[in-house]
């Protein structure tokens, strides 16, 4: 754990420079491969929005106002899922197969800082995905809820939601070997996506108490509920302060687990 005590004053400036350089590397690569990211992250939420809020509404299976309930959930999902996937996939490959990360692990900065850099870039990607989901959703639905006074809360819960996704992504990405990648994403991602209160408001789950409990255990729920509280406060939602508290706690927990599993993977 000597790594955590460092950097000493002499290595502090080199570590800062190295941190900014590896962050710049990820920003640069993200920019270069932006379309890959867009396809990777935007497609699932987009189709979900299209089928549930457009197709089913047009057929009369759901009410026309369902779109306004779903869009905030989809934005939360995009932030969370993008942050998670855009760090987990590359980490599995870089640690397990390409070893590309080694060059950064050998840069003069503590390994914990490399993990923090991954958290930062994944959160940025998550926020980016959430930001583009809004106009896309507006195009798909033809209308979107707009509430300027909710923007500060919106930014806070999206930032925290993306951060939690990033922490989970790092944890999974450093625990899973390339051979098990498909199992992991089937077994973990799909349940996470559908138990996160993105397609339904949590307070209305009284008729399904067991599902209400499961949903309450998913940190994505608090992101989705928070976004609804900010964008469509008329829909029943969990109190914003609870959302923020749970998200802060979850991001702390998953940041720590991410750092530990990352470190275990980086060091033998």
């Amino acid at each position: 754990m000597t790594d955590l005590i460092l950097p000493l004053r002499s290595t502090g400036s080199s570590a800062r420079k190295a941190f900014l350089a590896i962050l710049w590397r990820d920003v640069f690569v993200t920019g270069k491969e932006l379309w890959v990211l867009l396809i990777q992250v935007a497609l699932t939420p987009l189709f979900m929005l299209f089928i549930f809020a457009k197709v089913l509404a047009r057929q009369g299976f759901v009410s026309a106002s369902y779109g306004h309930l779903l869009l905030p959930g989809i934005i939360a999902l995009a932030a969370f899922l993008t942050a998670l996937q855009s760090v987990a996939f590359p980490l599995v490959m870089e640690f397990g197969w390409t070893k590309e990360i080694e060059d950064r692990l050998l840069a003069p900065l503590p390994t914990t800082w490399v993990t923090v850099e991954k958290l930062v870039i994944a959160t940025m990607r998550g926020l980016f995905a959430a930001a583009i989901m809004y106009p896309i959703g507006w195009l798909v639905l033809g209308t979107a809820p707009w509430r300027p006074e909710g923007i500060p809360l919106l930014i806070v819960v999206l930032l925290l939601g993306a951060w939690v996704g990033a922490g989970i992504g790092i944890t999974l990405g450093t625990l899973i070997t390339p051979a098990k990648i498909s199992i992991m994403f089937g077994l973990i991602l799909t349940p996470l996506m559908f138990t996160g209160a993105t397609q339904y408001p949590w307070p209305t789950l009284d008729s399904l108490p067991w599902f209400k409990v499961i949903t309450a255990l998913n940190p994505l729920t608090y992101c989705a509920e928070g976004v609804r509280a900010a964008m469509v406060p008329d829909v029943p939602h969990i109190a914003p302060w609870i959302c923020v508290v749970v998200l802060v706690a979850s991001s702390a927990v998953f940041s720590v687990t991410g750092m530990l599993t990352f470190r275990r993977r980086a060091y033998r």
Binding site: L6, S14, A21, W24, T98, E102, D103
Partner: protein
Amino acid sequence: MADADGRTAVEVIELVKRYPKRDVNAVDGLTFAIREGEVFGLLGPNGAGKTTTVGILTTRIEATSGRAMLAGVDVLRNPVAARARLAVVPQRSNLDRSLTPRQNLTFHAAYHGVGRGERNERAATLLKQFGLEDQADVKVDWYSGGMAQRLMIARALIHEPQVLFLDEPTTGLDPQARLFVWDRIREMRERGVTILLTTHDMDEAAALTDRVGIIDHGKLLALDSPANLIKRLSGQSVLELTVTPAPGDGADALIAALVAADGVDKAERVAAAMPAFGPGNGFPGGFPGFGGGGPGAGAARPSAVATMVPGAAGPVRLRLYLTVEPATMLAPVVSLLATRSAELTDVHIGQPSLEDVFIELTGRGLR
């Protein structure tokens, strides 16, 4: 460790590494030092502890106990400072495939705090030096193994490390690429970079290194210059003869006569003689040792061969251990055999190589 001719660049003291759930130490009390500007070869069979030792020195593996110093920095206590002073060229490509070759160099330099102008300049110089100028801005995926290796060496050099770790740098390269890499390693030595090289290629170790350390089971078995190690091994070279004794003469009597000659330390009968298939050491069943071609050995090795006599009765193969140069013993041996009317059908000069030293120390068993 005090050294007459220079400061210490790398020092490992009583280093121990035990991986979880293993009952033996991967590195077991290893102690050695590498002088500044030295090319040091770390040799050992697979699983001997080379990779673990290098992993600890390059801050990627945590030691269980002991000390590891690199360029004056305690690697275990201050890995960040150590990383700034070292560079690693791994055996398998770990180039950043999201970046171009040139960007691989410039980003690596940036990680190590080299300013923008400086790093672009250094990258351009290195790309030229390593013959990658024309393909500096393509996809890394298009690179051949040799090109990737060159680029990784260039990347390792761009932040001007004090100690360079090369892990089997020429494994899988074609002869041209291998010679190119060897030349670059020699250049680095001239520039004063300390190099720790791990390799299974004994010719490479003999050709490039100032000293080698041979390790097995996590322990150091020998540490010296390749020449000294070879010299120490039984101290001599050998002459192998395939001889058909004259009727009435026996192999044992011949051996006795040969041992009596000046310059012959010991003589022994080896596996049953087989027809010689030409020069060289191509005997399928024979040659327990002294077969390899260390530097210098190659020139002396394929030696005089008499014509094979098919159907000759009772040829025996004898090995003479010499205290003098084998070539000087040819004439006396030939005349001795002639006086006894023995027929000489094959002569082979063998000089011990680093490979023989390696096998002698670590055994012939497969790992």
